[in-house]
Amino acid sequence: EAGVAQSPRYKIIEKRQSVAFWCNPISGHATLYWYQQILGQGPKLLIQFQNNGVVDDSQLPKDRFSAERLKGVDSTLKIQPAKLEDSAVYLCASSLGTAVSSYNEQFFGPGTRLTVL
């Protein structure tokens, strides 16, 4: 079974530039998550999709971050404009079931390491 795919693996940009990350979840997984993992911390949820609808984006900095999941499969996360504090690893994860199936484990991709200079 193929895992969660993410690209690019690494990205270096200057502050105020824009950047986009792509995620392809495990086939059949209805729920997709984007996390931000800052060095020395655990992952923090940015946004959660159920199929192509947003379930939770309460921790997404909406003035600069946006995400979409067209057709309920692939997803993109965009930052525009980037700030120094956005330097982190951005993890995509997917899981079976619905948003309220809290017992399903999440499967994570390898992440995209973003450095903002």
Binding site: G40, G42, V55, L91, V100, S102, E105, Q106, F108, P110
Partner: protein, 113 residues
């Protein structure tokens, strides 16, 4: 609000010795508890989870965890550590129904030969 505490930044253990990585949680209602492991430059991998039932949960790679409701703890254990177990371990919690998965800050496990 829910939270997870992993009180140790790093745990050192010799190969062949038992290991314990500690986790305590705070959540309203019944908790769903998870352990994940992260190897360098890789995403998190699921190890095990507690949903309900037996307090001792067995997972991948010989790991197990014990749920203790009175102490609100979910410590990760392994009877005999391997050098290859060296990695970053995360405990996470969410409650039943819909809620976000909240992670601890992680504990680095170093197993020496």
């Amino acid at each position: 609000a829910q939270s997870v505490a992993q009180p140790e930044d790093q745990v050192n253990v010799a190969e062949g010795n038992p290991l314990t990585v500690k986790c305590t949680y705070s959540v309203s209602g019944n908790p769903y508890l998870f352990w994940y492991v992260q190897y360098p430059n890789r995403g998190l991998q699921f190890l095990l989870k507690y949903i309900t039932g037996d307090n001792l949960v067995k997972g991948s790679y010989g790991f197990e965890a014990e749920f203790n409701k009175s102490q609100t703890s979910f410590h990760l254990k392994k009877p005999s550590a391997l050098v290859s177990d060296s990695a970053l371990y995360f405990c996470a919690v969410r409650r039943g129904g819909y809620s976000t998965l909240t992670f601890g800050k992680g504990t680095m496990l170093l197993v020496s030969p």
